[in-house]
């Protein structure tokens, strides 16, 4: 999730590899202080995974955890609070984006994006007064985009353009209802309108809407593959009966996985077999050739060249959040454990064999690989 596009993954990997080779040991479990300090810019300037912990709705107890790839390390929870004098991160942490030396953390029900130094997690700024922000992507060091639901009372969703020099909103672009993930590819910004059945395409040079591509109901997640095709996972539209006592399966639509070919805007859609389960958690591996998603209580893997939906269950479990390590293909699944306490992160080898599990924060909903 929270995918880095390829340029950025590559760039990051390149910068980080140089610094991460240097250290191999760790000291006490509260502090991952690399041995040679002058070669790193902070405790998180190393290979590992950030875990996004959503927290309880209505309470600013969302958090970020970090697990180093180096052997012998324990997960460190609450790294934002630890680096910022105990300050809570925010309410419903929805997304985190690493760009250059900064991390942008979207706090949905706090209406803000916290900006931190990606190596130390010390706060450097904040974008405030957003309206239910969902996901963020940085175009470059100057400009970023955030999707905003605005409200759940029927308002049109929007994308706000953020000046990353001063963290202010410079422009808002109206898109569809309840916009969710966005990604930048080929000079265009793609926005999944989960309250509708389409994807809005915005020109990143002019910030104007160029077109709207119709997919299936409730498109939510986006992934860019090695051929620069855009994959869209639509959850399907859930309809309840009149008194909201049950789901009306006659009206509920099934989820679908769609492939958009950017040049032609051609859409190839694969519809899921049942409307009783909503697919989710679309993610892609480092090579950009394998898609992963959850459906019907399992984790599926699908080759990007497949011509039908995969029925390969790689893990017989569905997760609250899903991530795939771009370097080694390890699969990370987050379990919310009912939000009453800490969530659990399960780690699997690429073939689905379980490696380990550990406790993170409340409601782990996504992974960002460093």
């Amino acid at each position: 999730m929270r995918k880095l596009n390829f340029f950025r993954s590559f760039f990051l990997a390149a910068t980080l590899i140089t610094s991460s080779v240097a250290f191999t040991s760790c000291d006490d479990e509260n502090d991952v202080e690399p041995v040679i300090e002058n070669e790193v810019r902070g405790p998180y300037d190393q290979e590992g995974v950030f875990i996004i912990n959503e927290g309880n709705w209505g309470t600013p107890n969302g958090s970020i955890s970090f697990l180093s790839d180096s052997a012998g390390h324990q997960v460190q929870n609450g790294i934002f609070s630890n680096a910022n004098a105990g300050r809570p991160l925010g309410d419903v942490i929805q997304d985190m984006e690493l760009y250059d030396s900064l991390a942008y953390i979207v706090a949905n029900n706090s209406n803000k994006i916290e900006v931190v130094n990606a190596y130390t997690f010390e706060s450097v700024g904040v974008v405030e007064n957003l309206q239910l922000p969902r996901h963020f992507v940085a175009l470059n060091n100057e400009k970023g985009y955030v999707t905003e639901t605005v409200d759940y009372a029927g308002s049109q969703g929007r994308v706000s353009v953020i000046d990353l020099n001063n963290y202010t909103v410079t422009e808002t672009i109206e898109v569809g209802m309840e916009p969710e993930q966005l990604l930048v590819a080929g000079g265009k910004l793609y926005v999944a309108n989960s309250g509708d059945n389409n994807v809005t395409v915005i020109n990143t040079a002019t910030d104007a809407v160029e077109s709207t591509i119709t997919v299936s109901d409730a498109p939510t997640e986006l992934a860019l593959d090695r051929d620069n095709n855009i994959w869209v996972l639509s959850a399907g539209r859930i309809t309840y009966n009149d008194d909201w006592t049950a789901i009306d399966y006659d009206q509920t639509t099934a989820g679908a996985l769609s492939k958009i070919t950017p040049g032609t805007q051609n859409v190839q859609t694969y519809t899921f077999g049942s409307n009783q389960s909503q697919p989710g958690n679309l993610t892609i591996n480092g090579n950009g050739d394998k898609l992963y998603f959850n459906y019907d209580g399992g984790t599926y893997v699908q080759d990007v060249s497949a011509t039908s939906l995969s029925n390969t269950v790689i893990i017989d479990h569905s997760f609250y959040g899903l991530g795939v390590d771009p370097d080694n293909g390890y699969i990370y699944g987050g379990d919310s454990n009912g939000f009453a306490g800490e969530g659990t992160v399960h780690v699997y080898q690429p073939d689905g064999t379980k490696v380990t599990e550990f406790r993170a924060g409340i409601g782990p909903n996504g992974f960002v690989f460093n």
């Binding site: 959503e54 809570p88 925010g90 409200d151 409730a218 609250y320 009912g338 306490g341």
Partner: protein, 672 residues
């Protein structure tokens, strides 16, 4: 997170009125290491209290009377509660803090912990480590919790208009029925003594846009006692706090915590003869509130309107068969919650009838038998339709003093609830005054009691969440204690009590999200709560100076000891149950002047099931200065109060800002 899941969450929010949602957050919690309580703080408090008592040497005419009341047959609530602890909240405190809510009063003066959703929000109680639904609230002897929520929001209950507030510690289901697991809060209508007319007017203004007005009138004649009171409380609550969640933690103004509370009471007692009386009590409360969001959470226009009407009529008659009491009551509890995407109404009507017969043989024994019938009609946007329910119970309470220093009580109650089969709840207690000379008295006390609680209507019928197959809670509680009384003539009365208790609750009902993210109630297999309660009260008189002080300390350990399915929460302290709480209060009066001081120490509370996050301990100080002026027979009382004198930054519910130091000035005019 997936938006699909978000919508689930959202649907949940749409359907659940806030208080419901809150219960869910009342979870069960987390790792067994003992928090380092500041023992120095506690001992400092204790030392102060004893220090206060020592220099006392003089006259006090009320001591003997007080002693007798405490000693012989106890307060009405204590008659059938031998071996358990019952304490009343000091009346001078209640009159000085008449504008506050019952939550504020009990938080300041008792070991009970209240988790308050900010200054204007819902206040739920944790008594002896149990949850809000496990604390019974009775008004003139009848349980007032609506069957939907099964709990009372103490922030909507005013101190104004209430006569006495007593607290019974520990399980008392045999006496009070379903829900009295952790304890019971007993409220009673005021008694009007003396003859003729009387009136009481109060006007108060304080910091953060707070205003309070109240007035009461009463008349006592040979046959008739009648009283009525009304109050209005307006609070802007626009205090300044440090927003801990925001970049650079700026000082900001609280913007969404305004409240308007009003209500009235009416009490009428008519003595048909010296042996027969009828009474009518009315209690209406109205609360219109903005619900203060957590720091760092967006305000979504959450508002709540509560309207509670309680009517009760009683009939009492004494004959050679003893005292007959019949109470009939009608309660209507209306709750309307709204926010940007929710509009939810819950409307519950409760009909209750209780008849009891009490036979007392001198000071030797007393037997009470009775029946209680309840009928609930609940309409709730969260239910598929109207839900009706009938409940009944029969009870027998027996008090026996075989010899003067020994008091025994044996109680029994059997409840009947449609679709449930509650076990009988017995209670056995004793109080043995084993040492008595003219200065010291020592008593040993103990009791064993069973308790139960039927799942609330929300637990069972909330669409998509309620579980009709929930098991009722069953519990056993054991406690023992020692009480010491020191009397130095009429100058000093020192009462010290130490209690240890141990309680198990099977099938404890907890709201928690299931694997789909929907909040649902489930049974926890076994929860154990155990602890120690210490209290010491001293009253001393030196010339014109009267001093009194009370110190109390509680240690509460509450954790799951057996779980149905493997979870990580076993052996961890329940969230929002402080291990340590201590209170110290003192009052000194000299001629027309009096000073009240109140210290409240609340230890660390975990805020998650995993014992990973917590709220820091805090110490709050309240001070009040009263000046009483006599104007002919009338009394004018001027009061200057300061709450949170030391400007402590604290929270009782995570991230809900609480007010800093504030001042209140009040004028009260009493016509006898």
């Amino acid at each position: 997170m997936l938006p699909g899941k978000k919508l689930h969450g959202l649907r949940f929010m749409r359907l659940l009125p806030l208080p419901f949602y809150l219960i869910a957050c009342f979870g069960i919690k987390a790792t067994g290491y003992v928090v380092l309580f500041s023992f120095r703080k506690f001992f400092a408090l204790a030392a102060c209290s004893f220090g206060l008592a020592v220099p006392a040497v003089a006259q006090q005419d009320s001591t003997a009377h007080q002693l007798r009341t405490v000693e012989v047959f106890g307060k009405p609530a204590e008659v059938y509660a031998a071996g358990s602890r019952v304490s009343t909240v000091d009346s001078s405190y209640l009159s000085t803090y008449a504008s506050s809510s019952l939550a504020d009063a009990l938080q300041a003066r008792t070991p009970i912990y209240f988790k308050t959703y900010g200054v204007s929000g819902l206040s739920s109680v944790a008594f002896r480590g149990t949850s809000a639904t496990q604390t019974a609230v009775l008004w003139n002897g009848l349980n007032i919790a609506p069957a939907t929520l099964g709990q009372t929001d103490f922030s909507t209950l005013p101190v104004s208009g209430i006569g006495e507030v007593a607290v019974q510690y520990g399980s008392a289901a045999a006496t009070y029925g379903s829900g009295a697991i952790g304890g019971a809060v007993l409220l009673s209508s005021p008694e009007y003594k003396g003859k003729g007319f009387g009136a009481d007017l109060q006007q108060e203004a304080g910091s953060f846009g707070r205003y309070f007005s109240s007035g009461s009138l009463h008349y006592s004649g040979a046959k008739l006692e009648v009283g009525a009171s009304a109050y209005l409380r307006l609070a802007e609550n626009d205090f300044t706090y440090r927003d801990l969640s925001r970049f650079r933690t700026p000082e900001v103004k609280q913007e969404h915590a305004a409240q308007q509370l009003r209500g009235f009471t009416q009490d009428l007692t008519y003595h048909l003869s010296s042996k027969t009386n009828v009474a009518l009590h009315t209690w209406y409360t109205y609360a219109d509130r903005e619900l203060q969001p957590a720091m760092g959470s967006a305000y979504n226009n959450a508002k709540q309107l509560d309207e509670n009407l309680r009517l009760m009529t009683t009939f009492g008659h004494s004959s050679r068969w003893g005292q007959t009491d019949i109470k009939a009551a009608y309660f209507k509890d209306y709750l309307h919650y709204t926010d940007n995407s929710t509009n939810s109404v819950a409307d519950v009507q409760t009909y209750q009838l209780q008849a009891e017969q009490t036979y007392t043989q001198g000071q030797n024994w007393s037997l009470r038998g009775g029946i209680n019938l309840q009928h609930f009609v609940a309409e709730n946007d969260g239910y598929a339709g109207q839900q009706d329910e009938n409940r009944a119970s029969v009870f027998a309470l027996f008090r026996y003093n075989p010899v003067e220093p020994l008091a025994l009580s044996l109680n029994f109650r059997q409840a009947f609830v449609e679709n449930y089969d509650p076990l009988p709840t017995p209670a056995l207690g004793f109080n043995w005054k084993f040492y008595n000379n003219n200065r010291h008295q020592l008593s040993l006390k103990g009791n064993v009691s069973g308790s139960y609680r039927v799942p609330t209507l929300n637990d069972r019928f909330w669409i998509g969440a309620g579980n009709p197959n929930l098991k009722p809670e069953q519990g056993w509680s054991y406690e023992g204690g020692l009480r010491h009384l020191l009397v130095l003539g009429n100058t000093l009365l020192l009462e010290t009590e130490a209690t240890a208790y141990h309680m198990f609750v099977d099938d404890w009902i907890q709201w928690a999200p299931d694997y789909t993210g929907n909040w649902r109630p489930t049974n926890l297999q076994k929860v154990r709560s155990q602890g120690i309660e210490l209290s010491s009260t001293a009253t001393a008189t030196v010339g014109d100076v009267k001093l009194s002080g009370t110190a109390g300390y509680t240690y509460t350990s509450s954790e799951q000891v057996a779980v149905y399915e493997g979870t990580g929460d076993k052996g961890k302290q329940l969230m929002y149950v402080p291990l340590h709480k201590a209170t110290f209060s003192t009052e000194a009066s000299y001629r027309g002047w009096s000073v009240l001081g109140n210290l409240n120490y609340t230890g660390l509370r975990y805020t998650s099931n995993s014992e990973t996050t917590s709220l820091d301990d805090f110490l709050l100080l309240q001070l009040a200065l009263n000046k009483k002026l006599q104007i002919r027979q009338n009394t004018l009382i001027l009061t200057l109060r300061s709450d949170n004198v030391t400007n402590t930054e604290y929270q009782t519910m995570a991230y809900r800002a609480m007010p800093p130091r504030g001042y209140t000035f009040s004028l009260r005019f009493i016509i006898p």
